[in-house]
């Protein structure tokens, strides 16, 4: 099997002419579930203030790679990660790294909205509280409002902050989870198929939100929708059978991919 990654852009990828700093850098990252090697040596640089979409057929390792970035794989029994991944140049698998701090810096939003069985307010205030980010009622109020505004949910919930988060619609719950993720002022937000349970309108709102969040965060999103990847991301990585096959600017990947496997996948062909 061919393990070389096709990178169409020879230089470091630049979008909107800015060329932001590398946030995450992975070198030869392999992931094993027990004896089975699920990810076969991934090399990739993810930049700040860019949305990177991870695409590929089911079981290709998108979620597995995403979980390397905030060490969620540590919580899976029998899962082993080798190679190096750095965040702002620091090895996140180094002994000196506090995993709780890491996950505050690298927030995650999941496929199914999973608000805590608490009030809307508490869902957002929880993170800042356990991380000791705020202490006064005033500070918490400000963070809750700010996060809900950024998540595009404030006007819809400001009059019922004391009601349970689980009572919101699916799309609202997902935006609540995004508000919860950004409440701790992360630097990166990971999203694993965040819209797969949402209708087109709720999806459009999340996508709009992702585009706004890009001003301040690096975002990595796993999606099965080619159109979504094309709409929201600047860079796209195509995974296939545990290999990172192609990584390049989204506009190039979707108009003229280099690798035949990428071509087949994104055009819906038998690979």
């Amino acid at each position: 099997m061919d393990t070389t990654v096709t990178t169409a852009v020879k230089e470091q990828p630049r979008t909107n002419g800015v060329g932001h700093d590398v946030k995450f850098s992975s070198k030869q990252v392999k992931v094993f579930y027990g004896e089975k090697e699920a990810l076969h040596g991934v090399d990739i640089d993810l930049r700040d203030r860019e949305v990177t979409a991870l695409i590929g057929p089911s079981g290709c390792g998108k979620s597995t790679y995403l979980r390397c970035l905030n060490r969620m794989n540590d919580t899976i029994a029998g899962c082993r990660v080798t190679g190096t991944t750095t965040l702002d140049g620091k090895d996140i698998y180094d002994r000196s790294i506090d995993v709780v701090q890491l996950r505050a810096k690298v927030g995650m939003v999941f496929q199914k909205p999973n608000p805590f069985p608490k009030s809307i307010y508490e869902n957002v205030a929880y993170g800042p509280r356990i991380h000791g980010i705020a202490s006064s009622k005033q500070d918490f109020d400000a963070i809750v409002e700010n996060s809900l505004v950024k998540a595009g949910l404030w006007t819809e919930v400001k009059d019922r902050l004391d009601q349970p988060g689980t009572g919101l619609s699916g799309g609202q719950q997902q935006r609540l989870c995004i508000a919860r993720a950004i409440a701790v002022s992360p630097e990166v937000i990971l999203m694993d198929e965040p819209c797969s349970a949402l209708d087109p309108i709720a999806t459009a709102k999340i996508e709009e939100l992702i585009d706004e969040l890009r001003e301040n965060f690096a975002i990595v999103i796993v999606t099965h929708s080619m159109q979504q990847a094309a709409r929201v991301s600047q860079m796209t990585a195509f995974f296939h059978l545990g290999h990172l096959v192609e990584f390049g600017q989204t506009k190039q990947i979707f108009t003229n991919p280099v690798d035949q496997r990428t071509q087949s996948y994104i055009t819906g062909r038998i690979g």
Binding site: Q227, T255, Q263, S264, T267, G271
Partner: protein, 234 residues
């Protein structure tokens, strides 16, 4: 070239699109050939038939546009498929223009037949016409085979047409200066020559579209220009 789609119907639709382009190409080719024949043989009824047949070309263009609109909306094509579909619309537009120029020449040929025309000037028109006709046939051939090298060859040969056009332009000018009674016919012939030269440009556009469709990249270099630029209005 590429594998089958998971949705077999998508492949059928793309094939149907290509068939329509080919049909349109064949028609445009015939229109050009018949307009040249009408000029050569001073056949007014043939000219009229060319004018009448143009509606069919327009109709296919509309069909292709509808078809493409549907495919874009329903299939949301990506990569090679997107290029395939986009280049198809552009080809349809280009072929429609080609047929339009043929029709315009047919119209002018009717006017031309009413007066006296320097015979040698007619030969000049016919020569450049056949040259362009040959390139059109070649480019449509390249299209049906997705043949990039053949398309590039056609593209490079547009230079010959530019040279032939510039030569003919000077020739017509000479006749008109020698005998002012030929000015009316000469002016029509100049427009006809220009139309044929424009068809040549459209042929090179089709060649470019074939390369774009298959490879995803445009030509690396500018098209070579023929000599005699002084007679080319900007």
């Amino acid at each position: 070239m590429v594998n089958e789609h998971l949705f077999k119907r998508f492949d059928d639709e793309l094939a149907r699109l290509d068939a329509k382009i080919s049909e349109m190409g064949g028609l445009a080719e015939a229109q050009l050939a018949r307009s040249l024949q009408a000029i050569r043989e001073r056949d007014t009824s043939l000219s009229e038939s060319v004018i009448a047949s143009d509606a069919r070309v327009d109709a296919i263009e509309t069909e292709i546009q509808d078809h493409v609109l549907q495919m874009l909306a329903l299939r949301q094509p990506m990569a090679v498929d997107l290029r395939h579909i986009l280049s198809s619309v552009k080809m349809a537009t280009t072929l429609e223009r080609i047929a339009d120029y043929a029709k315009n020449n047919a119209k002018r040929s009717i006017v031309l037949m009413q007066g006296s025309v320097p015979p040698r000037a007619m030969t000049g028109i016919d020569r450049i016409g056949r040259l362009v006709q040959g390139l059109l046939t070649d480019v449509l051939d390249a299209f049906s085979k997705n043949d990039v090298p053949a398309a590039e060859l056609v593209w490079k040969r547009d230079e010959e047409i530019d040279d032939a056009y510039n030569g003919l332009f000077r020739e017509l000018l000479t006749y008109m200066m020698e005998d002012p009674r030929t000015i009316t016919a000469g002016t029509h012939l100049m427009f006809m020559a220009k139309n044929i030269e424009r068809i040549g440009d459209h042929v090179t556009n089709i060649a470019e579209l074939i390369v774009f469709r298959v490879t995803g990249s445009p030509f690396a270099t500018d098209r070579p220009k023929g000599g005699g630029e002084i007679y080319r209005p900007a």
